[in-house]
Symmetry: C2
Subunit: 346 residues, 2 copies
DNA sequence: ATGAAAGCGCTAACAG
DNA sequence: CTGTTAGCGCTTTCAT
């Protein structure tokens, strides 16, 4: 009964007063430093019992103000409504909560100015660490964070000239491999449709495509589209591109977003897959599996990415790994070959 | 130069000292109460100029500790990786940032215990408001929040016996209408596959289906699946259900997640849509649009939901609307009729 | 019109 | 082993 009545926030001072001990003692007990400070067994028990009874919880704001720590991790992705990032966010969230950390996330829209604002907001709030899929142009801010000894893990892409912890996939090999698959199937006029971007992962993907084509001696056809969240502004250019290049026999979409939009265009134009046009996309995704025919796709190891990201960050936070300068983790992808890219399937 | 050197966090006390005024004066100016407090023009300008120069930003933690406000809104959804919730989160996030609020979000998994924990964590952190798609069983916590005068907006579903601000869609009419569409197309054995749930929106959807079938005099076939994030645990039961009930001529999926899994089953079993089986799903979604044939779906007005949610909450936060007890907003859905449910299409 | 000072709740250095 | 005390940076009452 008393328990429930204790609605008024009770503070460490109240406990100290009530139990005739000092705030310090309570604070030490709370922080598990009772042994270390050789506080009497009896006192410890009395305090713990009381805390239990009244359901006391320390005020995290005061703690943060005092210690400069917040138990909050900032997660900055390109767009939280993108299924790739949403899934990663979900997994990271779970792991973080289990380790006593909260996640505060946001979408950067690949906009460096917005990202800068967000970072400075997070710094003010004393977040303890950062997980970022960085847009270009925020090298300085990241460096500043590192200089301030803030744990920063980048993922999905990296920034040149900034040495941070990093979790990535092998983009170049992934597209190289998928393009090879297309050439082995006998496709020769293979287009690559992607967002126009200098982000590391996008450049690597493009490189992989180019390299594979070069080896085969085929001509590359690259269509770059301005990055945009709005489907219509992606569908438009793809439609124009496919209409203009009827001679293509395969198309490779460089991201899941481009891929889904591209698939929509193909459906709308009544193009037959794979007889008119073979299709491959980066990122696996419901839509691709369930399309008829199912679409060959490069599947990123979402769980592994999330796991590695959070593990690296938690390690940093536990300060045990201060001496490690930085680590890069590169994960492999899987090429799921399906009907959309099989010459034989016809 | 001086500007950049000022890396050490500068505080209100520093400013006061530097400018030979008191902390109070600075604070008043900072909070736009200079006029009200009749502080000298000249002083105000000097202070503002200085603040500008050194790029001073008040420490929000200290502000929160002192005022009890945090400028943070908690957003609790069922699962942030569900595209419906991810899209809503994205829109809400944008609007919130524009109004000076940050969003801290999390997934409840429809688990009342987890949700309770999260709420108590948020309370400790003094978040200013809550946006929640509530699981059942947290009526007491919501009531407690309301009693504590915390702004709470529920959406997607409501809780009986708890009167809060609310943004919903007309679930019952939506399924009624879609079921009617099926009967009008001549389908008679129409199954309804859904998560097993007593959440208001799920009950309403089921009611709509039942009502429409009742009017037609057809027998309902309802398959309830345990709520789960794991696709395999959804696909299994649906597969079993469809295999066992070969006589069905149409199936209505009650959520986007069930719908996508169901579609996968249909594909895997080689069932022809709509000739073997017509398909309708709640929630519109890429997958449905791009399926062949495209799937008839009930589309929720995502933007309108997000807009209304945040508008209602911001109103509450601006305290101007203290007198309003609570408001419910019910939005309409659109039934997008596509090939998957057309008898004539064959 | 401005300033001194209390205090939000907590931690930790420093005494005893 | 335990208590006193000084802040963390800010807001706000009360005095001047």
């Amino acid at each position: 009964m008393i328990i429930k009545q204790q609605l008024k926030k009770i503070s460490i001072a109240d406990i100290a007063r009530e139990l005739h001990v000092s705030k310090t003692t309570v604070s030490f007990i709370l922080n598990g430093r009772a042994e270390e400070k050789r506080i009497g067994r009896e006192v410890v028990e009395r305090v713990q019992k009381f805390i239990e009874e009244v359901g006391y919880r320390p005020n995290p704001l005061a703690q943060s103000l005092r210690t400069g720590k917040s138990n909050i991790i900032a997660l900055m992705v390109e767009d939280i409504s993108n299924p790739f990032f949403a899934s990663i966010a979900r997994l990271i969230e779970d792991r973080a909560y289990k380790n006593g950390y909260k996640i505060i996330y946001c979408s950067t829209d690949n906009d460096p100015a917005k990202t800068r604002d967000l970072i400075s907001m997070f710094r003010e709030r004393h977040v303890d660490g950062y997980i970022i899929a960085p847009p270009e142009g925020i090298e300085d801010e990241i460096s500043a964070l590192m200089k301030a000894k803030m744990p920063v893990v980048l993922f999905d892409r990296h920034l040149n000239d900034v040495k941070t912890d990093l979790v990535e996939i092998d983009n170049m090999f992934s597209t190289y491999n998928a393009t090879k698959h297309l050439t082995e199937q006998g496709f020769k006029k293979i287009a690559y449709v992607t967002f126009s971007s200098n982000q590391s992962q996008m450049l690597a993907r493009l490189d992989g495509y180019n390299k594979a084509l070069e080896e085969s001696g085929y001509k590359p056809f690259v269509k770059e589209i301005a990055f945009n969240q709005n489907d219509d502004l992606i569908i438009g250019p793809i439609t124009a591109f496919l209409k203009k290049n009827k001679n293509l026999d395969a198309v490779f979409f460089g991201t899941n977003h481009v891929g889904t939009c591209g698939l929509q265009v193909i459906t709308d134009l009544g193009i037959q897959v794979p007889s008119d046009l073979a299709v491959v996309s980066f990122d696996d995704y419901n839509v691709f599996k369930m399309h008829s025919p199912p679409v060959t796709a490069i599947s990123q190891p979402i769980e592994a990415i999330a796991d590695n990201v959070i593990t690296v960050l938690l390690n940093r936070l536990n300060t045990s790994s201060q001496h490690i300068s930085s680590q890069s983790i590169v994960l492999k992808t899987d090429l799921h070959i399906r009907g959309s890219s099989l010459r034989a399937a016809q």
